[in-house]
């Protein structure tokens, strides 16, 4: 019996030597400094994978948007690399059709979830592209950065948003996208309906009139399929001039304090109560 024990022990010793996997001890240390939310905002499968790539030097610590900047600086100092691209990115909603400006055409009575409503003929909203306002995104946000305003439209708290992209995935209408905060010029509409039809559904929709295109530098904005689209590669040219003559206020300027500035000519919305069913 003792011989058998000795033999097995010997096998373990040999196995330990020959099958040993060397792992950089720095990976564990870096991982400890990461938030362990496994949110995927960096584009990797989780914090562990991100830590491995950090140690290999293939990514910059600044790509973790959840960590405080100081913690990312700690990782950078520890690995002896630069912090890298640190421009904050946030989720942005391409719809402004709250209950006070967007008509509903049928009342939906099923499970209170946007995804469920979207499966029943696209939900009850008049606009097929618009926000259904049942807050699936608010529910999915791990960081408490989303809340519904009094008109049932989600609002992003830019300080809390980590650009993890959970809201982008959950929204059945694909209204969220992750944008660098410097993208201040914003088209808050996704409707591809023609101008006269879109106004039947929503008071703040893009009618594709093209005034923003005329007022902005060449190529910054174009009208594509009845919708104004901003080319953010030319973001440096963007200014508030583009929003001034928008008749509905679909194109807006997002201020750094979180408020939204509409153009001078934008239709004034005074209504507070939800619209009746069309």
């Amino acid at each position: 019996m003792a011989a058998l024990g000795l033999m097995l022990a010997l096998m373990l010793v040999v196995a330990n030597r020959s099958l040993y996997v060397y792992e950089d001890p720095r990976i564990d240390q870096v991982e400890d400094l990461l938030p362990k939310a496994n949110c995927g905002a960096c584009g990797e499968a989780g914090c562990r994978t991100f830590a491995e790539l950090l140690v290999k030097g293939e990514v910059d610590p600044g790509k973790c948007t959840v960590n405080a900047k100081a913690t990312n600086q700690l990782i950078a100092d520890f690995l002896g690399v630069s912090l890298g691209n640190t421009e904050k990115r946030v989720a942005r909603l391409a719809c402004a059709g709250g209950a006070h400006v967007a008509y509903i055409r049928a009342s939906y009575g099923g499970i209170s979830s946007c995804r469920a409503a979207a499966l029943v003929n696209g939900g009850g909203k008049g606009c097929s592209w618009g926000c259904l306002g049942m807050g699936d995104c608010v529910e999915v946000c791990q960081f408490g950065a989303l809340s519904l305003d009094e008109h049932g439209l989600p609002v992003v708290d830019e300080d809390k948003c980590t650009a993890c992209g959970d809201c982008v995935t959950v929204c059945p209408k694909d209204l969220f996208s992750i944008q660098p905060v410097s993208h201040r010029l914003w088209v808050a509409c996704k409707s591809l309906d023609a101008g006269d039809e879109v106004e039947h559904h929503c008071a703040v929709a893009c009618t594709a009139c093209g005034r923003c295109v005329q007022d902005s530098p060449e190529g910054l904005i174009e009208i594509r399929d009845n919708l104004a689209v901003v080319d953010y590669t030319k973001n440096a040219l963007a200014s508030k001039v583009a929003i001034e003559r928008c008749p509905t206020g679909a194109i807006v300027w997002l201020e750094s304090d979180g408020s939204v500035t509409k153009g001078r000519d934008a239709r004034k919305v005074v209504r507070k109560a939800p619209l009746p069913m069309a």
Binding site: G110, N121, G123, S128, L192
Partner: protein, 446 residues
């Protein structure tokens, strides 16, 4: 023996439910035609598979029956102009599925004839099997029972499989709907011709028409009309929902069970709806395309319910104006009330998949009283599920969003959303809706 004939043991499947039928509203109403709608909206994606590609320009004049869009590949079918008129636009239009999709807008010349002017008569007896399958695709035929799966794909079983029995689905188990009932009574000749064509194309030995025993007049009528030289029989099955589901009907009539993840061809069976075969028998000899279908317009919300021959692309609003929509209407459902889709806009058009338009009144909905209570584990849903899933557990998993586990451990993918579980649930849990969400999310995650 006498006792047995009083209580005939009809063939059937296990589980299932017995919803109120409401078929008396339209069962004796012959199929009628309506005037053309001023404008038809023909979605390019009316079938499973790839959308059709338009072959017409805006401003072009087309004649009733002329092809206006071609099939994109094998699992796709062409479209034909449902009326004589001019193409006014090719643009986005609301669909029953939700997101707007491309459609051909056709402005109809009023006073245009209802006769189909396009088409080339041909002798089908000389066609080879392949040519027959190609002809079925050219005719734009899809399953008219509601699934809208291109018919010609089912005619060609996967390699190594042979089709030995063709089942003709005349069950029509959905409440309110009577279009298949009327087709069996009024279009018997076309139906028989269609079955004959499918028997030839698939090389099957026999065909069985399965009809629920609430339509015994149709069974009697078919038995009288069926020619003796063809291996076609008509059989009554028990009136029970969802008898008309493909898998259930196979089990009822042949005793075979389609394996999980398998096709009916795996057990040597192909199932066709009676409406599909009646159209096949009608259109193929004339070389025409599918441009209209029988639609039951029924429910307490309409004044003059009936069965109508409706051109594809007719807006639901126009259809309901013709039959008289009561002001008290609450919900409009395309298809039957069990599996159909409620629409949020009456501008949605009738497509090849729409077998009925059911209008419920506002007071029928009593949304306020439909409070959802917690699951009491009574097991009613387990008793009801025709494919023996456990909707109770599935529902609890859905509430905590364990969608992957639902598919992995509880066979969510097998659920065909018949709605039996939600129908019987005493706690009003919207189980089927939960499963629809779960399946949609699982599809996205793949």
């Amino acid at each position: 023996m006498a006792l047995f004939s009083i209580f005939p043991r009809r063939k059937t499947f296990d589980h299932g439910i017995y919803p109120v039928e409401h078929k008396e509203l339209t069962a004796d109403k012959p199929i009628r035609r309506l005037p053309f709608a001023p404008e038809l909206v023909i979605p390019l994606e009316q079938h499973k598979g790839k959308p059709a590609i338009p072959t017409v320009r805006v401003g072009q004049e087309v004649v009733r029956g002329e092809p206006i869009a071609e099939a994109d590949g094998h699992v796709s079918v062409p479209m034909h102009a449902p009326a004589t008129g001019v193409i006014s636009d090719i643009a986005l239009a609301p669909t029953a599925a939700g997101p707007k999709a491309l459609a051909i807008y056709l402005k109809v010349y009023q006073a245009a004839s209802q006769r189909v002017l396009f088409g080339l008569e041909r002798d089908l007896a000389t066609l080879s099997r392949e040519a027959l399958v190609a002809a079925v695709q050219q005719a734009g035929l899809v399953g008219l029972g509601g699934a809208a799966f291109p018919s010609h794909v089912k005619l060609m079983p996967p390699a190594g499989r042979t089709i030995e029995t063709v089942l003709v689905n005349g069950c029509e188990c959905e409440p309110y709907l009577t279009c298949d009932h009327r087709i069996m009574l009024e279009q018997t000749e076309s139906l028989v011709r269609g079955i004959e064509l499918v028997l030839r194309a698939t090389g099957a030995e026999r065909a069985i028409i399965g009809v629920e025993d609430n339509k015994l007049d149709a069974v009697e009528h078919l038995r009288r009309q069926l020619p003796a030289h063809l291996p076609i029989t008509a059989e009554a099955v028990r009136t029970k929902y969802p008898q008309g589901a493909e898998r259930m009907l196979i089990t009822s009539l042949t005793g075979r069970e389609v394996p999980i993840g398998g096709l009916p061809a795996d057990v040597g069976v192909a199932v066709y709806n009676v409406g599909t075969l009646a159209q096949m028998g009608e259109l193929l000899p004339k070389g025409q395309g599918l441009i209209e279908r029988v639609v039951t317009v029924s429910g307490p919300g309409v004044e003059r319910p009936g069965n109508f021959m409706v051109p594809v692309g007719t807006p639901v609003r126009f259809l309901l104006e013709q039959v008289g929509l009561k002001d008290s209407y609450g919900e409009v459902i395309l298809g039957g009330p069990m599996m159909g889709m409620a629409v949020a806009s009456l501008d949605v058009a009738v497509t090849k998949a729409v077998s009925g338009v059911v209008v419920l009144e506002r007071e029928d909905l009593d949304l306020a009283e439909r409070k959802v209570y917690p699951c009491i584990k009574c097991g009613a849903c387990v008793e009801a599920c025709p494919i023996s899933l456990n909707p109770s557990v599935l529902g609890e998993l859905a509430q905590v969003r364990e969608y992957a586990a639902m598919a992995e451990h509880y066979h969510l993918d097998q659920c065909f959303e018949c709605g039996c579980c939600a129908y019987v649930c005493p706690s009003n849990i919207p189980l089927t809706q939960y499963f629809r969400i779960a399946k949609a999310i699982n599809r996205e995650d793949k």
